[in-house]
Subunit: 334 residues, 2 copies
C-alpha cells in the first residue's frame, strides 16, 4: 500500500513531475499539455486527492467563502422559514461557484464585523437580508468597499448587488384579488413604513385600487413592525375606526396570522366578514386557520441570485440588481 497522498508534492512524485505542474494541471491551466494534465488529474482522482484549502487561500489571498449575515437570533422575529429557503438557495448557488457559506450572527449595534472577516481573510463577501440588518450595517459595508449583496434592497443601488421581490406586482396582485372577491373597503397593513419594499407594495395596492376606480382612503393605511403583537393591535385599532372594513392586505404572513387571530377575537369571520391576504408564503400559511391566501416569493431562487451576483462582484467588480416574480397563492383566507 502506497503512503497516503496528502499534498500536491505527493502527486508530483507519483506522476514524476514538479509541484507547479501538478498545481497547474489541477487548476486546468492551459500551460500544461493536455496529455500531462489528464494523467495528473487521473492520479489525483484515483487517490481522491483534495487540495488544502487554507494553503490555497493563503496563496491566492482570498477565502473562497462568503458570509451570510443575520442578527443575533430573536424568537419569533427572524424564525422565518423564508430565511431558511433563501439560505438554501445561497448555499447551492455558492457551492456551484466553489464557494463556502459561512453563517454569522452579528449584534445589530456592531459595525466592525465586516472588517474583521474581510481582513482576517475569512470571507470575500457578504450576503444580507434587509429584514435582518440595519442601515448602519449597509453603510459600514459600503464604506469598507466590501462586496456584498442584499435581499430587499433598492433595485438601482450603488456599489452593491441587490435581489428583491417584485413588491409592486405583489401588492397589486393581492389587492386585485381582494377586489375580485368583492371587497369594498380594503385596508393596507404594512411593515416598517420606511422600507422600500413596503412602499412598493403600497404603490401596488394604490395602483390596483385606482385601476378599479376605487378611492384611496388614508384611514385604511396603517403600519406595523412585523411583530405579531403590534399587528394584532393595529388591526383592532383599525376595526374600531373603520368597522365596515371587509378586506386587508397584510405585508407579512406572520403578521397576517396574528391579524386573523385578532379578527376572530373581535368576532369577525375570515374570510366571510374580512378577507385577509398575507405576504411571503411561510410554511405555516398553509396550516393556518383558515389557510392563508398570500403572495409567494421563490426563496431558493432569490438565494441563488444573491449568491451568483455576489460571486460575480467578487470576481469582476460588476454589480447587478434582480427582481424575482411575485405570485399569488390562493387558499381560503381571501
Amino acid at each position: 500500500m502506497a503512503d497516503a497522498v496528502h499534498t500536491i508534492a505527493d502527486i508530483a512524485r507519483l506522476a514524476g513531475v514538479s509541484k507547479s505542474t501538478v498545481s497547474r494541471a489541477l487548476n486546468g491551466s492551459p500551460l500544461i499539455g493536455a496529455e500531462t494534465r489528464e494523467r495528473i488529474q487521473a492520479i489525483a482522482a484515483e487517490h481522491r486527492f483534495q487540495l488544502n484549502a487554507p494553503a490555497r487561500n493563503l496563496s491566492r489571498k482570498q477565502s473562497n467563502a462568503v458570509a451570510f449575515v443575520t442578527y443575533a437570533y430573536k424568537k419569533g422575529l427572524v424564525a422565518d422559514g423564508f430565511l431558511l429557503e433563501v439560505m438554501s438557495g445561497v448555499s447551492s448557488g455558492l457551492a456551484d461557484e466553489g464557494y463556502d457559506l459561512l453563517v454569522v450572527h452579528v449584534d445589530p449595534e456592531d459595525t466592525d464585523w465586516a472588517r474583521l472577516y474581510l481582513e482576517s481573510g475569512r470571507a470575500d463577501g457578504f450576503i444580507l437580508m434587509q429584514a435582518t440588518c440595519t442601515e448602519r450595517h449597509i453603510q459600514a459595508l459600503r464604506a469598507l468597499g466590501a462586496p456584498f449583496s442584499l435581499w430587499g434592497g433598492p433595485p438601482g443601488a450603488h456599489g452593491y448587488c441587490s435581489v428583491t421581490g417584485d413588491s409592486f406586482t405583489g401588492g397589486r396582485l393581492a389587492t386585485e384579488h381582494l377586489l375580485a372577491r368583492g371587497c369594498e373597503r380594503i385596508a393596507f397593513l404594512g411593515g416598517f413604513e420606511v422600507e422600500r419594499e413596503v412602499g412598493e407594495r403600497y404603490a401596488g395596492y394604490q395602483a390596483a385600487l385606482a385601476a378599479a376606480g376605487r378611492p384611496l382612503e388614508a384611514g385604511l393605511v396603517v403600519y406595523g413592525d412585523y411583530s405579531p403583537a403590534l399587528a394584532a393591535t393595529r388591526i383592532r385599532e383599525l376595526l374600531e375606526r373603520e368597522p365596515d372594513l371587509d378586506g386587508v392586505f397584510v405585508n407579512s404572513d406572520v403578521m397576517a396570522l396574528a391579524v386573523m387571530d385578532a379578527l376572530r377575537g373581535e368576532g369577525r369571520r375570515v374570510p366571510d366578514d374580512v378577507a385577509v391576504v398575507g405576504y411571503d408564503d411561510v410554511a405555516a400559511a398553509q396550516y393556518s386557520n383558515p389557510p392563508l391566501t398570500t403572495i409567494s416569493q421563490n426563496g431558493p431562487l432569490a438565494g441563488r441570485l444573491l449568491a451568483q451576483s455576489l460571486v460575480q462582484t467578487i470576481r469582476t467588480g460588476v454589480v447587478s440588481s434582480h427582481a424575482i416574480p411575485a405570485e399569488l397563492v390562493v387558499r381560503s383566507s381571501a
Copy 2:
C-alpha cells in the same frame, strides 16, 4: 501616516521584536514576558490588527471552523423554525470558542462530503440534526473518525457527542396534560417509528397512561413521516377506526397543525371533541387555530451545547451527551 499594518511582521517592526515574539504575544503564550506581551497587544489593538486566518490555519493544520450539515432543502420539510433556533445557538456557541460556522447542504445519498471537508482542511468537525441526516451519514462520519455532534441521537452514543431533548419527559408531560383535561381515549401519532426520540416519546406516553391506571391500546398508536400530508391521512384513518377518540399526542407541530386541519375537516372541534398536543413549539404554533398546546425545547440552548461539546471533542477527544429539558406550553388546542 504609517503604512497599513497587515501582517505580524509589520507589528514586529513597530515593536522592535521578531515575528515569533509577536505571534506568541498575540496568542498569549507564557513564554513571552508580561511587559512585552502587553506592549505588543497594545500595538496590535491600536492598529486593529487581525491575524490572517488562512495562514494560521495552514500552520496549525486545523480550520477553526465547524460545518453544520443539513439536507439539500425540501420545501415544507426542513423549513422548521427549530432548525434556525438551533443554528443560532450553534453560531453563538462556536463564536465564543473562536470557531466559524459553515453551513453545508448535502445530498442525502452522498456520503463523501465529510471526507472532502475534513481533508481539504475546511472544517474540523460537524454538527448534524437527526431529522436532516441519514444513518448512512452518521456511519460515514464514524468510519472517518471525524468529530461530530448530533441533535437527537442516542444518549450513550459511541464515538460522538449527542444532544437531545428529554423526549421521555416530553411524551409524559403531553400525555399527562391530556389526561388531566379529561381525555379518555388518547392516541399517539409518532414520527418515524425507528427513531429513538419517537420511541422515547412513546415510552413517556405509555408511562403516563400506566401511572393513571389507563390501558394502553395498540390501536391508538400510529406513525407518520413528519409530513403534514401523511399526518392528515393517518388521523383520518384513525378516526374511522376509533371514532370516540378524544385526544391525540402528535410528535411534531407541523404534523399537529395538519392534524387539527384534518379533524376540522371531519367535523370535529379542537379541543372540545378532540384535544391535540404537538411537539417542538414552532413559531406557527402560537398563531394556529386554535393555538397549539405543545412541548417546547430550547433550540438555542441545544445549539450551544452541540457547539460546546463538539469543540471539546475536537480539542480533547472527549465525547459527551446532554439532554435538555422538555417543557409543556399550554395554549388552546388541549
